[in-house]
Symmetry: C2
DNA sequence: TTGTATGCGTTATCAT
DNA sequence: ATGATAACGCATACAA
């Protein structure tokens, strides 16, 4: 017999080799092509009886199409990519993660897509996008943490891979976007603080340079402006508990300290409350606090934290669906904004008139 | 001209078509096979000069090997899978996530592997493993949240895919494991509470049925036993803030309430502290608290939370490397245990002898 | 409707 | 050392 390189390998695996479409075709007594058509969902020109026979054969053999072969043939990866840039020093727990991913998974798994996730440092971000795209690992990207000066749009255009932005980057964004309405959420929070009688509402921001940070800032300002307030102290932070605590201390040290603070996320808000309370301030009496994200922890700190809430799972699902559409060439060019609501808890309760804290006049 | 289906597509893409190994070979004036060899890292039997010429051509064309074709040919996915089962209602922020993933990425990216991540519900767990394996999407799995009665070992054996367990499942585990020493960590925490003068050290567990929950329980018990303590009140919880708060209230309501609580994670510990304090208890004076994970938030709550710390990033890196070894047939069958340390903060500070809380005598 | 043949891009084997 | 060619498994254009 002639030498048989491949055969050797097959021989070894024979006992457990996975069935290919060839095996199915053989068992069904049809050609490979016919089997392929019979198995394809859109059932092209193929006899009903043949379809039944082939499917029965496939069932019997436990046939599962090999995605690698299909990928090569179809020039598709059947996968989407998500590259997250994270400073290794600031790998804070991200409330965004699990539920957003669950939503993504729900959307893509029914289409037999998978998610390729990488967490990278600054300098590896662009190379990672390039690698994933040029190797043909993914058919599109989810773009999180969109920056105000965003270099990835050009990169993606260069790579010729569709993408969906996770956020609300505004009209200049060249790709579809699905995001929560950060501006509206921030406005909601600020208006609530105003309604609860607060006079000096400060803001502690997330990391600068991000669209969502920017939009939350806009929302806070807009609400203050509408209410005719001129006080607008702001602390620049970075979404981390430590950053939130620092910014809070700085605000409280200022000559005209706030009587309320809106934080760009819950992690900072919780740390901020702790910082304020450890100085003897009472929350909400002396300082009202509202966060963003409504993480599960928010309801279980003391005092329970008010927060802007969004359905993160829906967000993930919608973003993934939009990306799949883009991959299929069904370009929904628009931007979708998910609404967010405010969950009011004790941290921002109104102070009874007879007991408003420092600087109050009042006697009931 | 005849109809040209494939050609048409190629024509359209011609302007931007990615270079294949054929293009490189042509430009270098060699055969496809020679080009392949010249490009392969282990440079087989091939002339030095040819190598140089081919590599230059590849460089010039910006050639990147197509992973899909390589996958088909090599019968490898060049990807590892991680299937996380998560109850959609308890999608709590997972401190484990980002830094662990960063470690995984660091290990696999240099080998040109990617991570396929899915978050699934109970009933989709097994089908997801099956799909990923039988479609040939991944070459191996990372197995997190190992259960005391673990059905996935059999599943993986059936699927014939290597895997690495994330944890310390004990000697009966049929696959290699990389985990932190939960038992030791829990012991450390408990011993510290004993050393700080606590008499009644309770435990609030994570979700039952998991190896790490079990091991932390063992560690807590062992420390108590060694110290000759008989008090061992325990609340069964689930790793969520809400569960931690409930268990805490139950413990405090018991006829003999604890003067210290060790929690299986920080989320529960933080919520537990809040629950205790909202009842007027002072931490650490009336109740000392230690958590597990040392999340960034731990240092920024009031009072700052003592916690068992591990290098999650290293963990991810080591686990991924172990999996890659297993995929390559280099079976490191053993189990690796990463050490963890205790970070002591105010929540567990010793109570000055003259001022021990309830039941204490104390003045000053 | 069905079978045949070809291409996807790579690696590996064989013959030169 | 190099070139030619088969093979990976699937989808599809084309002929029958």
């Amino acid at each position: 017999m002639e030498s048989m390189p491949r055969q050797r390998r097959q021989k070894e695996q024979t006992a457990t080799r996975r069935a290919t479409i060839n095996d199915v075709a053989q068992l069904a007594g049809v050609s490979k092509g016919a089997a392929s058509r019979a198995l394809s969902p859109d059932g092209g020109r193929i006899g009903r009886e043949t379809i039944a026979r082939v499917r029965a054969a496939a069932e019997e053999l436990g046939y599962v199409p090999n995605i690698r072969a299909r990928s090569l043939s179809a020039a598709r990866a059947y996968a989407i990519g998500w590259v997250m840039r994270r400073d290794p020093d600031v790998l804070t727990e991200d409330p965004f993660f699990p539920s957003f991913l669950a939503g993504v998974e729900a959307a893509i798994s029914v289409r037999n897509y998978t998610l390729v996730l990488s967490i990278v440092t600054d300098e590896l971000e662009e190379p990672t996008y390039r690698r994933l795209a040029s190797e043909g690992r993914v058919d599109g990207f989810l773009l999180s943490d969109v920056r105000t000066r965003e270099s990835r749009f050009a990169l993606l255009a260069d790579l010729q891979v569709p993408a969906v932005a996770l956020g609300a980057p505004g009209p200049s964004c060249p790709i579809p976007a699905v995001g929560i309405d950060d501006r509206k959420g921030a406005e909601l929070a600020t208006e609530h603080l105003l309604a609860s009688g607060r006079q000096r509402i400060a803001h502690v921001t997330g990391a600068p340079g991000y669209i969502h940070t920017h939009n939350r800032q806009l929302g806070w300002r807009a609400a203050l402006r509408k209410a005719g307030k001129s006080y607008c102290a702001e602390g620049i932070a970075d979404f981390t508990p430590e950053g939130g605590a620092k910014a809070t201390r700085a605000l409280l040290d200022s000559p005209e300290p706030p009587d309320a603070i809106f934080y760009d996320n819950d992690l900072m808000a919780i740390a901020g409350m702790a910082a304020a309370m450890s100085r003897g301030l009472r929350v909400p009496r002396d300082l009202a606090v509202v966060g963003f994200d409504n993480i599960p922890m928010a309801a279980h700190v003391a005092p329970p934290l008010s927060s802007v809430a969004t359905d993160t799972r829906d967000w993930g699902k919608l973003a993934a669906l939009t990306l799949l559409d883009a991959i299929d060439g069904r370009g929904t060019q628009g931007q979708v904004m998910l609404q967010s609501g405010l969950v009011v808890r004790r941290s921002s309760h109104a102070v009874p008139k007879h007991a408003n804290g420092q600087g109050g006049v009042s006697n009931q």
